[in-house]
Assembly symmetry: C2
Homo-oligomer: 278 residues x 2
């Protein structure tokens, strides 16, 4: 009998108050089959140890977050970023996930050149794509909401992400489709179809849009069902584009982080059944 | 001899700490020829009295802000919004400005239907366009940054604004081009050309993008030169599209509001000369 949770993956940031063993245990108890992991907590626990933990729990690692930050102008900084992304690819391979999510980076201090910053991302991808392929890892460019264009990610739309990704083979570079970042964009459904047609939907992530946004606009991603986004509509778009993979819920939310992590995880699973599954 | 201020218009919100007579006096002393006005302070001072004040000071009213809020579903609410916009058109005509800026409205409470909300805007424009034309006033749809899509304006890009505007004659409905809202959008330059080709750039407004954004993301528009936007680049786009009209600076910024209004006005004029004029 279906639980409705078969495609759910919980991104670790959603319940960052849980340790990795607590997260794995809670997922197993609830019947959540997938997790998306973040580099810093994985490194703290140990990459090999994390790989063992999730393997022993029978969990699938759907993504590793995150590589990226490719927009520096200084050559030494750029070389450092590329080297760090090679390590992220190694970690993804060790964890057994095929997808490394990329947050590409904002404008360097004092720069007003969005176009130049986007081109430097392409340069970095050209270096990293073959290395990722050798390790069985796909890079997923995540367009971030335009409100992050200056300080976090100059790739603001799915169209821009695909313009970059399509310079490379799909098994090297694709995109992350996250409802929080693209829900306002009337062109996004057509871009999802474009991404699906060339096999470039490397992950599908959900968060809801709630207001007012908090200061700094980082940690206000809403629990599924609390906001303005019709999750089944967006699931319909990725499915029509041929995507049948995991659906990852990734919330950054001070309110959720202040609560008991297991309770938040159970609530998130319930919301998935109500607003997404089926 | 050129002062560099010939095309500058100061939107009243930039220095809302100044009364209308203080604003008019400060503009005259500095040699700022234009002002953009807001309905609430104009109504408090009196519409006729404001019209006299700015006429006697020799100032041009470049825009009136703002009409709009067309997205309600309830018929009574919708009729009320249309009636209020007729009054806004009357006020614009009395003030002697040819441009009423429209903030179209967000999603109604509980709704997740962006497309439907955008269609209701078109319905309202069909009612208001002829009335505006009779009064010599043009409606300017302002696309607001996508971070306002849920609670303030479902029109998030210049392309969406033009898709709406082009259903009507250009002398009835055009667009507001505001750097703050569109600077992240790699399609915006082509859309400015599209707007110019049909005479639909009804106003050109400037604010700079600074981070971190404040809670609620309303009052963090940066002083010209403080942020990530290349103002001369965007001025180049509107000029290449045939726009030679006023350039209005509209900042909502708690930091600027806390300072002496005349000092902020003088600083803003200096920034205009340094970052925009010429």
């Amino acid at each position: 009998m279906s639980t409705g949770l078969e495609r759910l993956s919980i991104n670790q940031m959603t319940v960052k108050q849980l340790s990795l063993p607590e997260l794995a245990d809670a997922c197993v108890r609830l019947g959540v089959p997938g997790v998306g992991l973040w580099r810093a907590p994985v490194q703290s626990y140990g990459v090999e140890a994390t790989a063992r933990l999730v393997r022993d729990a029978g969990l699938t690692v759907t993504t590793l977050c995150r590589g990226g930050f490719f927009t520096a102008i200084d050559p030494a900084e750029r070389e450092q970023a590329v080297a760090d992304n090679r390590r992220a690819i190694d970690e993804a391979a060790t964890l057994g996930t095929d997808t490394l999510v990329l947050v590409s980076g904002g404008l360097p201090a004092g720069s007003r050149d969005l176009h130049g910053a986007r081109e430097r991302i392409a340069d970095a991808l050209a270096e990293l794509g073959p290395y990722a392929e050798e390790h069985g890892v796909r890079l997923a460019i995540e367009p971030l909401h335009p409100m992050y264009a200056a300080d976090r990610c100059v790739v603001s739309t799915l169209a821009q992400a695909l313009d970059l990704a399509e310079r490379f083979p799909a098994h090297q570079v694709g995109v992350a489709v996250d409802t929080y970042h693209i829900w306002w964009d009337d062109r996004a459904p057509a871009q999802i179809a474009r991404a699906g047609a060339t096999g470039r939907i490397h992950t599908f992530q959900l968060a809801d849009w709630t207001t007012p946004l908090p200061e700094g606009v980082l940690n206000g991603r809403g629990q599924i069902g609390d906001g303005s986004i019709d999750m089944r509509e967006w699931k319909g778009y990725v499915e029509a584009a041929g995507y049948t993979g995991p659906i990852e819920i990734e919330l950054f939310n001070e309110g959720l982080w202040a609560r008991d992590g297991r309770e938040v995880l159970a609530e998130t699973a319930e919301r998935f059944v109500t607003y997404v599954a089926g």
